[in-house]
Each structure stands twice: as structure tokens, then as C-alpha cells.
Symmetry: C2
Subunit: 226 residues, 2 copies
Amino acid sequence: MHKLYLMTRSEENYIKTIFHLGRKGTQEVATNAIAELMETKPSSVTDMIKKLSEKNLVNYKRYQGVSLTSLGTKTALGIIRKHRLWEVFLVEKLDFSWDEVHEVAEQLEHIKSDKLIDSLDRLLAFPKFDPHGDPIPDKNGGFKERDRDLLSEVPINTVGVCVGVKDSSATFLKFLDKNGIALGNQIRVKEREEFDGSLNIEIDGRNLQISHVIAANLYIKTNDEI
Amino acid sequence: MHKLYLMTRSEENYIKTIFHLGRKGTQEVATNAIAELMETKPSSVTDMIKKLSEKNLVNYKRYQGVSLTSLGTKTALGIIRKHRLWEVFLVEKLDFSWDEVHEVAEQLEHIKSDKLIDSLDRLLAFPKFDPHGDPIPDKNGGFKERDRDLLSEVPINTVGVCVGVKDSSATFLKFLDKNGIALGNQIRVKEREEFDGSLNIEIDGRNLQISHVIAANLYIKTNDEI
DNA sequence: ACAAATTTTTAGATTTGCCTAAAATTTAAT
DNA sequence: ATTAAATTTTAGGCAAATCTAAAAATTTGT
Ligand SMILES: [Mn+2]
Ligand SMILES: [Mn+2]
Ligand SMILES: [Mn+2]
Ligand SMILES: [Mn+2]
């Protein structure tokens, strides 16, 4: 049953938004939240939700919020897979920087062709994570969230590798570039300033002072796996 | 003046169709011809032509047909450049066959990003022709039509290289595959049957009998350049 | 508990791209 | 030169996706 292939771009964007807002679609999402993230009006969201509900992509009872059905979740994962594979492609093959890829991937994620996306996957050697450290669902929607922690929440002296960003806005990513912070960097948390939560870290040898806001948007994978 | 970037997919498809029907937009194109090629109704075409005329993309006087303005031509060349570069990408990097690329390229040609297309161009080493032998406009719309002849129209004993197809439908392309005819093949016209216009050719060593219809859809570049 | 504030839905418009049916214009045929 | 045929445009409508304004339902605060 592949209705997936006759979805409009707009429908796909709503499904994706509901997925992201509702912890992978499991949680109920508020109409207003969707409207805000999509920069549209709540009344438009209600209209679309009804349509998606007709198509069995979301569970909906008026005034009760919306969540994805299993078909909706599958659809969302397909779009996210495409988005993230294209992001990898742009960085690996076309030398885009990680702050430039999202906008273009927003367009490319709507291209319909299974063969295209599976070939792309192969060309890129089946990457597991996108340039921002987010996991790439496989062909069947399989998804393994990497075990990771926010830099702002690990204890002093934790050592690990920077594996992702929480905020992946161009502004934040460019800031990281400017300060020489990139995925793969070795990080050690040396000191936490109680007053403002800022951190003194050692990153690939250098010392660096970063604010709490920055630390709260950087993921590390610690070495203390058992 | 880059209105180009706020064109809808539908507008782009009309512009492209007018370009193809009107010998690169120079000739006047009939409403019905556009409608037929785009599988839409003449009344819809008239509506769109008015809109494109407003935007200075076409020259239009009612009942007199339509042609591209210089802005329209530039736009068309940009879309065709994208279409053909994506076709090369699909064949060269993703192992698509030449009969599979067109459909996907029809989608990809509407992705908006100068950086994307110029990087793609570089990745592919600035190809001059697409998988069907059609020329790829450069960044500035520069376009050199290759000197070539239809196999059906060259004299007996002409020798050349197969450099393109006129009909690039999947059906025809698959037929060529089945008969081992591909771009780059060395061809010599050995005999022309007066009765039905069929040809006896030598192609990369082998002998092959091809109907007039086939010959009339294959381009060769002869070796008799001065 | 119940009024006030917030959220969500409905009702009614708008825009884009398409349609059908009918009218206007051009082209072809006698 | 008229008439007939074909082409093209207009008029009026429809579906998708959006909006504003108003009504309905839920949540919050005292
Ligand atoms: Mn992204
Ligand atoms: Mn990403
Ligand atoms: Mn093509
Ligand atoms: Mn082509």
C-alpha cells in the first residue's frame, strides 16, 4: 500500500514536522506548535491535519492534538532518510559546508525515486550519520539513535568525542567553525563555572572557554562504554 | 534582476516546453502544440502564457502564438543545464541507465541552488553533453550544438561515431541497448535499401540491419571535418 | 467553581493551476 | 468571397493550500 508516492510536498512537510515535534511521532503534538514551526497559521494546520487523517497518516481527534500513525511514521522516516543522505552527499561530494546543506536538502528530500535514494546511499557507502551527527534511517526505516550526552550535562573530567549538534542553525554552525569546533574532535571537560554554567574544555589539544548555551547544544560520546 | 528564483515548477515547465518547441525559443509556438506536449488543455496554456508575459518571459499577442524573450531563453537554458547535468550525474555516479534518467531529472531540474549545480558541474568534470548526446549549456547559457547528422540522411559509405539520439524515449533507448547500439560506437553505412529506407551498417565491427525509423533517430558525427 | 485566557476549529476568501463549455478569431476550402 | 473548420481565448468553476475573523472548546487562575 504505497500512497506514499502521491503525497504533496506540503503534506510531506507537515508529516516531518509532526515527527520532529512529537518525539518521532509517538507523542501528541499541538496545532499551534506545528503552526509556529512551519510559519503558518493554526487554521491552516487544522485543515491539513484533517486531510492527513483521511489518508491514515495521523491520529486525530479535534482539540486533542495529533500523532503519527505507523504509516505516518514510516513516511516521515523515508523523508528524513532522504534529507540526511542528501546532506551527506552535499558535504562529501560537493564540498558544501555543514551550515549550507540544510536549505538545499529541504528541497531534495521531496524528490521521488527509490532507485535514486538507494543508489545515493551506496555512493556514499551507507553512512549512518548526517553532517550534524543525526542518524540516517536505513531503507526500512531502521534507526539507531547514538548514545550521546549534551556537553553541558556531563561531569567534570569527562572525556569524549564531539558527535553532534542539537541546534543545527547556520548561525550556530558557523560559530563552531569560527572556534574550530567540529564533529570528531576529542573533548575533555576541565572546569565548570558555577556562576554562568560556562565550561573550560580541552578540544583537540587546545583550551577553550565556552558558554553554557554552546555546551547545551553540543553532543559528545563518552569513552566510558561498558 | 533575478526573478528566476521565484518561478514555480509549472512556470518553469512551460518555459522549457516553449524553448523546445520553438527551436530554442526563437520561433513562435502555437498554444495547441504546448498543450499537447504538456498534456494539458489549450485554455490552461493561454492562462499561463498571460502570466509568463506579465513576467516578461515570453512575447505574446493574442492569437499570434508565443516566443521566449531573452530573459525567457536564459531561464530555459538554466533549467536545461540542470536537467542534463543531473542526467549525467545519474548515469556516471549512480549507475542509472540512459533510459531511466529523464523522469528523475524532470524533478531534479527544479531544485534551486546555484552552488549546487555549479558544484555538480565540477564533480562531473564539466561535461559538454548529456547521456543522450544533447549539449549542456554552461553557467552563462553558452551552448554549442554539435555538428552531427541523422544516420538516415548521410550517403553510403559514410563513417562516423554515434553521438546522439533524436528520440530519447525509454522505449527507443532500451531497443538500442538490446541491439548493442550506444553512444561512442563507430558506424559505417554500408547499404541503403531503396524500398523501405532500411540501412545495413557496420557498428563496432558487427553488421546490423536497421529500419529507417531507427536510422532517423540516431545522430552520427562524421569524420570528414575540414 | 467559574471567569478569563488560551488554544483550536469553523466559516468564508484568496491564489494558483487546472478544467469545461462557449465565444472570438484565424485559417482552409469551396 | 463566403462558408466551414480549426485554433485560440474568455467565462465560469473546482481543488489545494493558504489566510483572516469569529466561534467553540479547553486550560488556567483565583
Ligand atoms: Mn537538515
Ligand atoms: Mn542534518
Ligand atoms: Mn531528459
Ligand atoms: Mn537528455
